[in-house]
């Protein structure tokens, strides 16, 4: 206990010294083995901070959207748009702004990284919380009203428990995505941050294979440890929040959770600290509930606050629109041509990646899904492979590509594939598993085999899952294109034609007008394809290809 406390204290002091210390534009990345745990710690800290921020924001946002119909009308469509904006194109801007906010301090850049990771992971969590709140059964709400639950009790005993499972799964997805952004942030050339990402890049810069391997191993180890010590226990614990009427046969378990639940120290903590505290809260709110009229007046002032905030936001948006229009009129025809060509190239590249990804993952995923024994071996392996963020591997892959003599034209597709194929694979596996045995048996009995079987049973069966996987993969690929199409490596710049490269090079050249316009164009294309293609496919999957009991 004591040594743990000491270690914690040391960690806080060390982080504080580094963050509040003077800004060092070019951090020397040490490649000693002993430095790796420290770098892993820094990376982990950034993710943890960003996650806590995201959780708080997601709950607030979801809560307001669910209970204020007037806010809901614009908050939910806004969420939809925010979700499709490629976060990485803001990387340079945010970093510059944050560095300017805290001149001469490391903390500015650190905050920039945390902010970017936050924007990468918060939206799906907010949406999940909102959707959970909206689906709380009516009778459960009525029970809460008739038994006079106060605000706190509603939140702790109904709203939070009801949304726990959705929040847990979305948190896992978000944190997995956070590694991707974190690596990109740490590798960002102007403000290098000490962390696993910069370690890997430095190692690749020098062509140091041993360090690359060690770095990747550390990363896998960290991810596996998080899985074992955070996600497994949380999933096993969240099982009790399932809205099921009967207990299900197979329940997720976790040895860490078992250990914690049996531990006397935890039990004591609950009895001594948590119980009395919750008792206090409940009494506080039970006492305050009687004063109804006051709350109503309060909500009146609240609505004034909301109105003022709304008008300020409107003004800000109006100003931004005017600025964008001014920038647009200031751009040359050549710039627009460049953006158009870039968009087309990236569009082709992203969709080629999806096709290539689907081509190998569909047969493999179906094979795994149909064969439980294979699944038992292959699924954990694939999970580990998928857990390594593609951005961490970019320098390594680039190193190999350059040695082989391939350009970034082919290379970027490999890089995109690296990041997005897993979404498709896991969804296909899930879809293949979900095809009911009786349908498979029926196909067998009627002699439906080979291509016929794929056409009549397997492809329609996995269709909803495939669409879900492709949607996620497409979003990921667009985002990754910003780092995949343009890469600085060993002091040399590798790039190919594409809107991602355009964004990166505009940043490099500090051409912020071009950066802004290409980012907006990119976001517009992503939102439009989502609306026109993916949304429709998804609806088709939901209606015609849904397997209902």
């Amino acid at each position: 206990m004591f040594s743990a406390g000491l270690a914690l204290f040391y960690g806080v002091v060390e982080v504080g010294r580094n963050w509040l210390g003077p800004f060092t534009p070019h951090v020397e990345i040490s490649r000693r083995l002993s430095a790796l745990p420290v770098y892993a710690g820094y990376s982990l800290l950034r993710i943890a901070l960003a996650y806590v921020l995201s959780l708080l924001f997601a709950i607030t946002y979801g809560y307001i959207a669910a209970y204020r119909p007037r806010a809901e009308r614009f908050m939910i469509p806004l969420l939809d748009v925010l979700q499709s904006i490629p976060v990485l194109s803001f990387l340079p801007g945010v970093m510059l702004a944050m560095a300017a906010l805290f001149p001469g301090r490391q903390i500015g850049v650190e905050m920039g990284a945390v902010l970017l990771i936050f924007t990468g992971q918060v939206w799906n969590m907010a949406f999940s919380f909102y959707a959970s709140l909206k689906s709380i059964p009516r009778e459960m709400r009525e029970a809460a009203t008739i038994y006079r639950f106060n605000w706190w009790q509603r939140f702790i005993q109904i709203e939070l428990p009801f949304s726990t499972i959705g929040l847990v799964w979305n948190s896992m997805m978000s944190v997995a995505g956070a590694w991707f952004f974190l690596m990109a942030c740490e590798q960002f050339s102007d403000f290098r941050l000490p962390g696993l990402g910069s370690y890997l890049q430095a190692a690749a810069d020098d062509g140091d294979t041993r360090s690359i391997l060690l770095g990747v191993l550390t990363m896998v180890a960290v991810i596996v440890l998080i899985d074992q010590f955070v996600w497994r226990p949380v999933i096993a614990w969240a099982e009790k929040f399932k809205m099921e009427q009967v207990e299900s046969a197979s329940v997720p378990t976790s040895w860490v959770l078992d250990f914690l639940q049996r531990s006397r120290g935890v039990a004591l903590f609950r009895k001594r600290a948590i119980r009395p505290l919750s008792e206090r809260m409940v009494h506080y709110f039970a006492g305050h509930q009687e004063v109804r009229a006051e709350t109503e007046r309060e909500s009146a002032t609240m609505s004034w606050v909301a109105r003022i905030a709304g008008s300020v936001a409107l003004l800000a948006i109006g100003y931004a629109v005017v600025r964008v229009v001014m920038i647009l009129t200031g751009l040359h025809g050549a710039d627009f041509r460049q953006i158009g060509i870039g968009l087309a190239a990236t569009f082709l590249r992203v969709n080629l990646t999806l096709v290539l990804g689907a081509l190998w993952t569909i047969p493999v995923g179906v094979a795994i899904g149909f064969n439980p024994r294979l699944a038992r071996i292959a699924q954990p392996l694939a999970q580990i492979a998928a857990s390594v963020p593609a951005t961490a591997l970019f320098p390594v892959v680039l190193l190999v590509l350059i040695r082989l003599g391939g350009g970034l034209g082919v290379g970027s597709i490999v890089l995109l594939l690296l990041g997005t194929q897993w979404y498709i694979l896991f969804n296909v596996i899930a879809g293949a598993i979900a095809i009911p045995t009786d349908l498979k048996e029926a196909a067998n009995v009627f002699g439906i085999r080979g291509w016929e079987c794929w056409r009549k049973l397997i492809l329609p069966g996995i269709f909803p899952f495939l669409v879900t996987g492709l949607i996620t993969a497409s979003g990921g690929a667009w985002n990754a294109s910003i780092v995949a199409e343009y890469f600085r490596f060993k002091g040399q710049t590798y790039s190919t034609v594409g809107v991602g490269a355009l964004i990166s090079s505009a940043t490099e050249a500090k051409n912020f007008d071009l950066l802004l316009v290409s980012t907006i164009a990119l976001a517009a294309v992503v939102v439009t394809t989502n609306r026109l293609v993916w949304r429709r496919l998804y609806r088709l999957a939901e209606t015609r290809y849904k397997l209902e009991s």
Binding site: P137, E139, M140, E142, A143, T145, I146, Y147, R148, F149, N150, Q153, Q157, I158, P161, K240, F241, K242, M243, E244, Q245, V246, E247, E279, V282, H283, A286, G287, Q289, E290, R292, T543, R544
Partner: protein
């Protein structure tokens, strides 16, 4: 009679359509809940029973009229009520004990006393030893006991129950009903009145001191009378059967003028019939009923029919009403009798039945007539479902529009009046274009 605990004065519920049209769900209702009685509220499905319950508890506000709690306007804060829900509405992440303690916690009862009171109530409902279980470990009957315990622990003056037994199997429901009565009769319950919403006629007669029957579209009080039978009540006794039969009669004859024994009968004018409302019965159910009637000599008592089919009124009545509406059966004094058309239908083969059904549907069912004539008038013989939603919207609430349309689709497709494509939301004429009206014998399109 002492002062009522709850007094509803001309409470009414309606929705305003965007075009200013008013969809009335509950017609003005006056109702008192007096201390010392079990009231059961009966009515066909979807008639607004549950809405009325929610208005009486202060959970939802009436569109007009007023609910008084001991003479003061009711709110969810001042009403000493509790509700037992059909779906139990327990919190699955709380143990049985925590579920029962939660309402006390909300009232700021200190931990120790909370614990004692909850344990005492759990003991009363027979859940001793299940305190630390989670709801999902319990059977349906046990779960509803937790629901009872949670309701009684706040010592409500009026205990409301919204179809408390209908999610349970027959035996469990019977057992729980008896236990409830026992608690009530032995005065072990800390409540002075119970208000039960149900669609089960026997249940109502078994439990109630006073039965209120609601009519449909909009809901209005059709009958309100006391039941003076002493407990325990014998289901086979003449008076019991008579009462059940009487209620069946009320529920199947919407326009019957009532003069029940001791009833403060509702003397509302029969509401002007705005638009034909089709009962929610499937073709398979109608066919089955007609076949059964034919087998049993063409005439049967509704009450007996429900017994033979082991169906309650909620499920049986729509099927009977549909058969009557289609002219396949008649209903008189609680007896169903098959008509010559019904006999013909019951004896016909698969394809012939479709023709007979089609003829009957086009003769009697307004919405199907409309669909048929609109489709014939259109050049491309097809039309969007929205068109009919708009027609129905003028007369029914949102949910009811959905149900009306669903049923119309079920009947119309069976009768091959039209095809319905769920993806394009379009109705198309089923028969080849240009063919004369009386139908073809094309086989079923699957």
């Amino acid at each position: 009679m002492s002062d009522p605990i709850i007094r509803a004065q001309a409470v009414e519920k309606f929705y305003l359509q965007p075009d200013g049209n008013r969809i009335e769900v509950i017609a003005p209702v006056d109702l008192d809940v007096e201390p010392g009685e079990i009231i059961t509220l009966l009515g066909p499905s979807g008639c607004g029973k549950s809405t009325l319950l929610r208005i009486l508890t202060g959970l939802s506000k009436p569109s007009s009229g007023e609910v008084l709690w001991h003479g003061h306007p009711i709110t969810s804060q001042n009403a000493g009520v509790a509700i037992v829900f059909q779906s139990f509405a327990l919190f699955p992440w709380l143990t049985v004990l925590d579920n029962v303690e939660a309402p006390l916690e909300a009232r700021g009862v200190p931990a120790l006393e909370r614990h004692k009171r909850a344990l005492r109530i759990l003991d009363t409902v027979g859940l001793d030893g299940f305190e630390s279980a989670y709801p999902k470990e319990l059977s349906g009957g046990m779960k509803q006991r937790v629901g009872f315990a949670r309701a009684m622990v706040v010592e409500p003056e009026v205990l409301f129950m919204d179809e408390p037994f209908s999610a349970l199997d027959v035996l469990t429901a019977e057992n729980l009903r008896n236990e409830l009565l026992e608690l009530w009769l032995s005065k072990k319950m800390p409540t002075s009145a119970i208000f039960i919403v149900t669609h089960n006629i026997e249940e109502a007669v078994l439990l109630a001191d006073r039965v209120i029957v609601l009519g449909r579209n909009p809901a209005r009080v059709r009958a309100d009378f006391p039941i003076e039978l002493s407990h325990p009540r014998d289901r086979k006794s003449d008076r019991f059967v008579e009462l059940v039969d009487y209620i069946y009669k009320i529920m199947t004859q919407p326009d019957l003028a009532l003069a029940a024994p001791g009833a403060t009968a509702a003397t509302h004018k029969p509401v002007r019939q705005k638009y034909q409302m089709i009962p929610h019965a499937r073709v398979g159910g109608i066919t089955g009923l007609l076949e059964l009637l034919q087998d049993r000599g063409g005439k049967e008592d509704l009450y007996r029919l429900a017994e033979v089919l082991i169906m309650d009124a909620e499920d049986l009545l729509p099927i009977v009403e549909a058969s009557v509406m289609l002219g396949f059966a008649t209903l008189k004094e609680g007896d169903v009798e098959i008509t010559p058309e019904g006999v013909q239908f019951a004896e016909a083969g698969i394809l012939e039945r479709k023709i007979l059904f089609r003829n009957a549907a086009l003769k009697h069912i307004v919405i199907l007539q409309q669909i048929d004539s609109v489709l014939h008038a259109k050049a491309d013989r097809s039309i969007s479902q929205e068109f009919f939603y708009d027609i129905l919207d003028e007369h029914f609430s949102q949910d009811e529009v959905e149900r009306q349309f669903e049923t119309a689709m079920n009947w119309g497709r069976y009768a091959e009046i039209f095809d319905f494509d769920r993806e394009s939301h379009r109705l198309t004429l089923a028969e080849p274009v240009g063919e004369p009206h009386p139908p073809t014998t094309t086989p079923v399109q699957l």
